[in-house]
Symmetry: C2
Subunit: 381 residues, 2 copies
């Protein structure tokens, strides 16, 4: 069944998920990591969907990574049993963490300061239940975390271990790997992740502390790492859908992007050389992640309804509910004459940001004989 047939009754703008591409992306990373002998802990913040989680998680019930306690609550209620909440813990969130753990999900938190460690230890003692915590390690100056050689690292570990919490290990994320292109550059960042995490684990163990988990990961490094000695698990998220930012740094091709926004033409201005569509920034998100890349894809790359890229057409601008479609600067193509009502699909800069603008996925099933499916997704905190 063609995409046009399947999408016939979908209102625009709508969020389309190509299940076949998604399953291919999932299988690609799974088989790539097998010889490297690490567990995969997918990040569910991109999809925020129980249907996607079932397909991406090994065994279906974990391990997983989340970015909000809302995600932890929804996925725990859906039966996922092993979750890392990978954003530094605020002390006032520990009651929610304890409540999720009490319902049978092994939820762990991350932190990088003595104040947070004291709060986690105190909450553990108060509840009579050791909250597992990983210490966040800085491998590339991206954001937070302690350097592996920071004397605060074993001190924070000691506060957790001796204070009544569970020191579960260390965690790092090469966020700067998104800023470089190609497998060689990503492999170098993967080695920085590995080296930092293993050094931090060594610092804890040298201080007589436990460190069972050594967690690393980002989509670029997961697809490029060559040696993961000493690492126990890899995290990655956006690889499930991929997007133009990932294509722009060579982790995937545009043919791997499983997510697109279905839209209708609502006008044109031939003098200015542009079309207007009903997908503005409310649908596409404001993400301009390709603006600093070698090829700027504007607010998204334009495809026909079957998902075939239409030459040099990009979404060159966006207001709230209007997208402006024009030829890429320097293009020698011609603006096609697409009347109001023509339906198009837009590949997004950043899958996490675009998916977040919608309440569900219109799914083109991998089975070519199957009709459209709808998978709900959730938002909020």
């Amino acid at each position: 069944m063609s995409a046009a047939d399947r999408l016939h009754a979908v209102e625009t703008p709508g969020l389309v998920l190509d299940e076949g591409r998604m399953l291919r992306n999932i299988e690609r990373l799974r088989s790539r990591l097998q010889p490297l002998n690490v567990a995969l802990r997918p990040h569910l913040k991109t999809a925020k969907s129980i249907e996607v989680a079932r397909r991406v998680l090994t065994g279906g019930d974990g391990p997983a990574t989340v970015s909000t306690l809302k995600e932890a609550e929804v996925f725990a209620a859906a039966g996922i049993r092993d979750i890392v909440y990978a954003v530094g813990i605020a002390p006032q969130k520990l009651d929610r963490v304890l409540a999720i753990r009490a319902r049978g999900c092994d939820l762990s938190v991350i932190l990088d300061s003595p104040g947070q460690a004291a709060a986690v230890a105190e909450a553990s003692r108060r509840a009579g239940a050791r909250i597992p915590a990983l210490i966040e390690v800085d491998c590339d100056g991206h954001r937070g975390g302690l350097r592996p050689d920071d004397p605060a690292l074993p001190a924070v570990g000691r506060m957790l271990h001796d204070g009544g919490a569970e020191l579960r290990g260390v965690l790092t994320h090469a966020g700067e790997s998104y800023g470089v292109s190609g497998a060689e550059a990503h492999a170098a960042f993967a080695e920085r992740e590995r080296a930092a995490a293993v050094a931090a684990a060594g610092a804890l163990r040298s201080a007589g502390l436990p460190c069972p988990v050594v967690s690393v990961g980002s989509t670029p490094t997961a697809h490029a790492a060559r040696d993961l000695s000493g690492v126990t698990e890899m995290r990655a998220g956006v690889y499930v859908f991929f997007d133009l930012v990932m294509a722009g740094i060579g982790v995937c091709s545009t043919d791997d992007i499983a997510l697109s926004v279905l839209t209708s033409v609502i006008g044109q201005n031939r003098e200015r050389g542009c079309l207007f569509i009903d997908a503005g920034w409310m649908a596409l998100s404001r993400d301009r992640g390709t603006a600093g890349q070698a090829v700027d894809q504007g607010c998204g790359l334009v495809c026909d309804i079957e998902g075939t890229v239409l030459g040099d057409l990009v979404v060159s601008g966006a207001n709230q509910e209007h997208g402006v479609v024009s030829l890429r600067p320097g293009s020698r193509g011609a603006l096609p004459d697409l009347p109001a009502g023509t339906r198009l699909r837009i590949l997004p800069n950043h899958a996490c940001a675009t998916a977040a603008q919608f309440g569900g996925y219109e799914v083109l099933p991998a089975d070519p004989a199957a009709g459209l499916a709808h998978w709900p997704r959730f938002g909020g905190w």
Copy 2:
């Protein structure tokens, strides 16, 4: 009751609405327009809330402007009886338009091409019900619309009028007024709106066509227009909440901004001179509307929990669930020492984009004795 007392139990990140500031903003524009002798048709796309609509609409049931048919459906179901859907109509949406009209709401559409006019006329004949349509007029090259002297304008009007639809009038929007600063510049754009709309109305009337409605508006022009002769109604939306973009072009001060994001400190990096908060782009939106203004406010301006701006602190960067707070470039201030768990409020660049990231408002009521209220908001199409 202090904001800190009222917000005590709110999870972060959360969306805070200061009702007192909002009511002041609503009253300011209402009283400003009274001597100019035009109706006010507020745009509800910013708030997407029935509680806000009740406070902003004259009489409570209209007139109103919306940017999606979902808004039209929700507000019509809540009793609003006069709505303009101010995004160019796609032909396949006319069945939904007819369904909303059949439920007793006078919903009108806008268009700027013969193809759309033919579709609206055809749908009207098919339904035996004249769909009211306004012709979109281009006053400043911002986006779509026909120029007032375009011969297509009376031709499109004729197609509607003679084809079975209802030619209700003309509509224009000075979207370019957001790019200039100060009352003089905004007044000049207001005059461009007025002159273009009145000229277009004249072109229709000269052709023997009706043009009862002459609709103009944007928040900057609504607050600066001096003469609105020939105009029947003014549209504006973001003025209800205001935001840093509007403050940056002088339409309001930061003390007028009624919307903020409540957030918690989750870490710091003193070496890099930054704090981390649990409001990233998922909460603040990716909107960087002040980037091109005289004062770049980053991803938002930082206030304490009572809403007082904290010197030179801005959200200088954002990942999905992490905001990075640092001093504005060139500041001679010092980064305050705020431990994990400290709660702050962030003023947004763009109220429409930030509000859209949340499912509801935590409302600080105008009555100083009243506790926190919760108003739901909706999204989607």
